[in-house]
Symmetry: C2
Subunit: 215 residues, 2 copies
Amino acid sequence: MKIELENIRPMDIEKRSFEIITEELGEKNKSLVPGTELIVKRCIHTSADFDYADNLWFSDGAVEKAEQALRDGACIVTDTKMAWSGINKRTLNRLGGEAFCFISDEDVAEEARERGITRAAVSMEKAAKLDRKLIFAIGNAPTALIRLYELIQDGTLRPELIIGAPVGFVNVVQSKELIMQTDVPQIVARGRKGGSNIAACICNALLYQISSRRD
Amino acid sequence: MKIELENIRPMDIEKRSFEIITEELGEKNKSLVPGTELIVKRCIHTSADFDYADNLWFSDGAVEKAEQALRDGACIVTDTKMAWSGINKRTLNRLGGEAFCFISDEDVAEEARERGITRAAVSMEKAAKLDRKLIFAIGNAPTALIRLYELIQDGTLRPELIIGAPVGFVNVVQSKELIMQTDVPQIVARGRKGGSNIAACICNALLYQISSRRD
């Protein structure tokens, strides 16, 4: 069997991918909320999963608020090293922000053991103590999202944005529904799907939108 | 709306998730090839996407060969830092292996610019020079997989296993079909889907299977 490769320059691959996604969204009669298109398309680009055209929920003005926070130097906190490593930190740093992930810290592990809760939950508490504007990008642990909900409810935390994209089967759907009950700006991948790749890609989509407007 | 959380200990979440996956595979009448079950289920666990019950292709004896290579101290090469950071390096190191990713190396970037090819492709050439048993876990770049195909065809490279899970829309399907034409042991996520998370999770599934047999 002869396999035909598309002849394309490295720099054009992403552009071509987005064209294909746009075409196929049209064929599927999916219309996206204005202002959210690049984020939804980047999630599809990252996963090849068109479910994200239906799954992603944006609270009112979430994109504008998140972009403003990033322009003001907001930091991004993730629940996994994978999400952390997927974030374009060069672009984030240029805006004055940093990316943090405390999941592997020894003090977090120890406290989680003592209290019988997940490291992810403890790592959120540690992040909540940062004296910075904070965006939380959660791609794995529903327990992280649930802890954020509790910290918001008790007034300890007021994040600029929560990206709620844990993936899986136990308390994942519920953790997202809890966050959706708050009035915190949020982008949530409803249902079971999500992932560290999705959490990181939503961060990058926001960062690239800011960069492209500056160019 | 009252949201009911499942009351479960942190240590039991993964077990419960796998039970749900097994139940739902049964309801969907999906039967998995013996010996591949834990890998397929872990991919579903990582993505909440049951498409992986159909997408994953295993060459003959791929799992056994990969496990033997890892027990012999094989190293894992990834095409992204995200995949690298998702691999359980503690377990890998215990077996004598290491994980490598050269995508961000300055010499790789420079050579890619000069030759007008992707950094991913150049990073595969750099990895092919390692004098170690090698497993390639490709979760992003079809150009990495295509370069591996070429290196195998010209006799430069003979990997222990290729995990072919790039994701996306341009040359992704073709790159996987190329690898499937070789006789190299392989686990391929056919079609457009895949990702750094899937590449890492297949590595971890193999590592955990080896560890659990040793316990």
